[in-house]
Symmetry: C2
Subunit: 479 residues, 2 copies
C-alpha cells in the first residue's frame, strides 16, 4: 500500500534538490496543468510536483519514495492521450522538464546525446542544423519531450520510413525505483554485449523507472521533399493507391496518411481543404470520402519529383485517385500537413472525444469503422471521425458528440470493450502507438496478451518496482 | 550443478518425440559436425543430438532437462564465430533444423511467418518471389537459420539500410526452460501493449529459451541494384568517401564495405581483384591499401545509375578514390561481392585465425589496427587482415599465422585482453554482431557492462533459467 505524501515529504524532497527554489511546487494553481492530461479526461490530485535537474536528484527522490512507499508519476510533455502521465490519486509528480541539456551531436557518426527532458522540436532543429534528421516526428513536437516519446514508444508519421524507437535509440540512462542510475549509454550502432536491456524501458510508460538520458542514431537530412494531397472514393482505392506508392516511390516514400470524410468535414470548418467534389444531390461542394497525404523524402529533387509525378499520373489513370494537388512550395506543403496534424486539436474542441488508437491488417482497416458505424445508428448525436497512419495499419478511430463535452457512460459502453474485441478478432492491436496508460490497462490481459506473457511482465514489474511506486494504477493489471 | 545425460535420458527424449526415427542421434560420426563450430576452434563432447519437429516437442524436452538438470545447447546453422552453438562439455544439443515450415507470406502487409529452422537463403528467395525483401543478409545465408540469426542478433551487410533485427522482427515464439511456450507472435507493425518482451530473446544466444517461430516485416523488393568497387590510399580518404556516399547516394545507399590490403592480398590468391596498382619499388602489380564495395538498392534504374555515377565521379575528382570499377552486369556484380564475402572462408584455410568483431567510432576505425600492428612487430609470423561494415563502425579484425593451424597462447596473450581494452578506451563495443558465446563472456563484466546492468542480466537469467540449463558456460559470467 502506498501512502499519501505530506508536507514533511515535500521538505525532504527540497533537501534532496539542494533547497533549490522552484524545485518543489505545492501551490494548487501551479500544479493544475500537471494534474490534467491533454485530453482533459484524466485529472489527478497531486499536491507535490518535483523538478529535479540531474540524474542524481531523480535517484535520491526515487530512493526516498521507494523507502517511504510514496507513488510517483513521471511526467514529460504531458501530451499523451491515454492518461498515462497524470496521477490517479495524489502521487508525487516528477517532471523531467529541467533535464534539458544536449550533451553532444556527433556529426561524423550521426549520434545525438541529450537529457530526456529536451523538447522534440528543439532536438529536430538542433540536428537539422548539422545536416541530420531526428527520426521522430509527431504533431505534439513543440511540447512533447524525447524522454516521453521513448517511454511511450511513440510512433508518428515517419515510422514506416525511419522505423520505431526500438530501431533508433542506441543508449539510455534510466533511474530505477531503488535509486540505481542504470547506465545503458551505448553509442555504437552495433553492440551485441548481453541482453539488450534498453528495450524493456522503451514503451514502459515510466512503470519501471525514469528515462533520464538518451542516445539516438540520426540519418542524413534528406534534401528533397514533396507532398501531395489525394482523394479516393473507396477504401479499396486507398489500398491500391498505397500499393502503387510503395512500387513507384520506393525508398523515397516517407509518409502515407489517411483521413475520412467526417474528419475532413470537421477540420474543414477551420482549415481550407484544397480539393473538394460536388455533391450529387445538393449540387454543393463537399469533401471526398477519403483523402491521403503522401510525402517523399530523398536526396535528388529532380529524381524525386519525377517519381512523384509518375505515381500521381498512374494513380489517376488507374482511377484509384479521383482528384489531387501537389504542393508547389513550402507554404503549400505546410498547409497540406497542417490539415492532417490539426485532426486531434480540432476534434478536441468540437465535443467529448472517445479516442481509440488501434492497429489492423490493411484489408481490415476501414471495415472496423463501418462495423462500429452500424453499431452507433441508435446514436445520431455521435459521429465517428477517423484518420491514421494507414501505411502502418494504424488507425485513430474517434467518436465525438458535437457540442456535448461530457462523457456519456451509455455511449462509452456501446464502444468498448466491443471495439477492442473487434480489433482482437481481426488480429490487430488494441494499442498501436498511444500506449496503455489508464485507458487500456484492463484489456491487456484479455485482449492483448496471453497469461504467460502477462506473468513475465508482472515479474519484471515486481523486480524493478517491488512496492509499486512507479506510475501506480496504470499500464499493467497486477492482480 | 548439471549432470551428464545418459542412455536412459536418450530413451526419454525419444519417447517425447513419439519414438520418431532420427529424432535422437547418438552415433559419434553423425554427432561430429554438431560438436564442432565453423571456426573449428570450439569442440564439444555431446553424445546426444535431438531433432524436434514441433514447439511442443521442444517444450517437452526442455521441461525434462530442467527437471533433470541436464544442460542444453540450442543449435541452428552452427555458423557462429564465437563458440556459442557447440557444447562446452557433454550437453544435449537441440537442433532446430526440422522446424522448417513457412506458415505464410502475407503479400499485402509484407509479413513473413515461419518456423525458426528455415534457412535464411530459402526465406530470401521465398519473399523475393512475392516481390519483397527479407531485410537480412549474411555470407552464411545458405546454411544459417533465421532462429540463429535472431538469437545472435546477427548484423550483416544491409544493417545500415534496413536496420537491426530488433527493428524488423514483429513477433516470436520462444520455448522457455520450464517448457512454457511463450507466444509473442504479434503481426502488427505497431503494437504498444506492455513491455516488449521479444527484444530480450533477440541476441540472447539461447541462454533464456529456444526461439521456435518468427514473424518478420519485409519491405518491397528494390528493382534497381548497382555495385561499385573502389580503391582509397588512406583511411582518411575512406572516411571522406563514406561521407560523400551518404550525401550523393542518400536513401539508395545499401552497403558500404571495407577491406584492407592484407585481406585483399589473401583473397587475391584465389579470386581476381578487379583493380590493382603498380608497386613503386618492385614495379609489379599489387593491391591498393583499401578497397570498398558500395551497393545501391532503389526503385528506378536510371535515377540510381545517375546518382552512382555522380558519386564515383566526385570521389575521383576529389582524389578520395584513386581507382574503381562499376559492375556492368549481374555477373560482375556477383564477382565483386564474392571478394568481400570470401574473406572469412579464405583466411580460415590460410592458418589459425584470431578473430575479433568490434564496433568503433568511425574516426578510430583503423587506428586500432595500426596500434595492434605495432604491438605485433615482434611476431613476423603473424599478419593482421581486416575487413568490415565500416558504415556501421563494425570492424572484423583478424590475425592469422599463415601455414600454422595451431593456436599460439603467447600470440593470443599479446592480442587479448589488450585489443578489447583498446576498444573500450575508444568507446567501442567488444562485440558488434557476432555475439559473446565462449569467446567474450569473461570480458562482459569488465569491458562492456557496468555492475548494475550485469546484475539485471543475471537476475533475468535466474528467472527464466534457475538451474542454468540453457547454453551453459557461455554468454553471461554468473559469478
Amino acid at each position: 500500500m502506498l501512502r499519501s505524501p505530506t508536507k514533511r515529504d515535500a521538505e525532504a524532497f527540497l533537501e534532496r534538490m539542494s533547497n533549490r527554489k522552484g524545485s518543489v511546487v505545492t501551490e494548487h494553481e501551479s500544479l493544475e496543468r500537471y494534474n490534467v492530461d491533454w485530453t482533459k479526461q484524466f485529472i489527478g490530485k497531486s499536491k507535490i510536483l518535483l523538478k529535479p535537474q540531474t540524474s542524481e536528484e531523480i535517484s535520491s527522490i526515487l530512493k526516498y519514495c521507494n523507502e517511504e512507499k510514496i507513488g510517483v508519476v513521471p511526467q514529460a510533455g504531458n501530451t499523451g492521450l491515454v492518461g498515462g502521465s497524470v496521477p490517479v490519486h495524489d502521487e508525487v509528480i516528477v517532471s523531467i522538464e529541467k533535464l534539458n541539456e544536449v550533451y553532444d551531436f556527433d556529426e561524423v557518426n550521426g549520434i545525438l546525446s541529450c537529457e530526456s527532458g529536451c523538447i522534440l522540436q528543439f532536438l529536430q532543429e538542433k540536428v537539422a542544423s548539422s545536416n541530420h534528421l531526428l527520426p521522430l516526428d509527431f504533431g505534439a513536437k513543440g511540447i512533447c519531450m524525447i524522454g516521453g516519446n521513448i517511454s511511450t514508444n511513440a510512433g508518428g508519421v515517419y515510422y514506416y520510413r525511419f522505423g520505431s524507437i526500438h530501431a533508433n535509440v542506441l543508449g539510455l540512462e534510466v533511474i530505477l525505483p531503488d535509486g540505481t542510475i542504470l547506465d545503458l549509454m551505448n553509442k555504437n550502432r552495433k553492440d551485441n554485449t548481453g541482453y539488450d536491456l534498453k528495450h524493456l524501458f522503451i514503451g514502459a510508460e515510466g512503470t519501471l523507472g525514469i528515462v533520464s538520458k538518451v542516445i539516438i542514431n540520426c540519418p542524413r537530412l534528406p534534401t528533397a521533399r514533396h507532398v501531395t494531397f489525394l482523394a479516393c472514393e473507396s477504401f479499396d482505392a486507398v489500398q491500391k493507391t498505397l500499393d502503387l506508392a510503395k512500387a513507384e516511390l520506393g525508398e523515397i516514400l516517407a509518409a502515407f496518411e489517411f483521413m475520412d470524410q467526417a474528419i475532413l468535414d470537421e477540420v474543414g470548418k477551420e482549415k481550407k481543404i484544397p480539393i473538394a467534389k460536388v455533391d450529387e444531390k445538393s449540387g454543393e461542394a463537399c469533401n471526398y470520402r477519403f483523402c491521403l497525404t503522401v510525402e517523399t523524402l530523398g536526396s535528388n529533387n529532380e529524381h524525386d519529383l519525377s517519381k512523384m509525378e509518375s505515381f500521381i499520373e498512374k494513380s489517376l489513370a488507374n482511377g484509384y485517385v479521383v482528384d489531387g494537388v501537389l504542393a508547389q512550395d513550402l507554404n503549400q506543403l505546410h498547409e497540406i500537413w497542417d490539415i492532417r496534424l490539426s485532426c486531434n486539436p480540432i476534434i478536441k474542441s468540437a465535443g467529448y472525444n472517445y479516442k481509440y488508437d488501434i492497429s489492423l491488417p490493411i484489408e481490415e482497416y476501414y471495415s472496423i469503422v463501418e462495423e462500429m458505424r452500424e453499431r452507433l445508428t441508435s446514436r445520431p448525436d455521435a459521429r465517428d471521425m477517423n484518420w491514421g497512419h494507414v501505411i502502418d495499419g494504424n488507425l485513430h478511430f474517434n467518436v465525438i458528440t458535437p457540442g456535448n463535452f461530457d462523457e456519456d457512460p451509455e455511449l462509452k459502453a456501446l464502444l468498448d470493450p466491443y471495439l477492442y474485441e473487434a480489433v482482437a478478432k481481426r488480429g490487430g492491436s488494441i494499442s498501436a502507438e498511444h500506449g496503455l496508460g489508464r485507458s487500456k490497462k484492463k484489456y491487456l490481459g484479455t485482449l492483448a496478451k496471453n497469461p504467460a506473457a502477462l506473468d513475465i511482465m508482472r515479474t519484471f514489474k515486481s523486480i524493478f518496482d517491488p512496492h509499486g511506486i512507479m506510475n501506480p494504477g496504470k499500464y499493467l493489471p497486477m492482480d
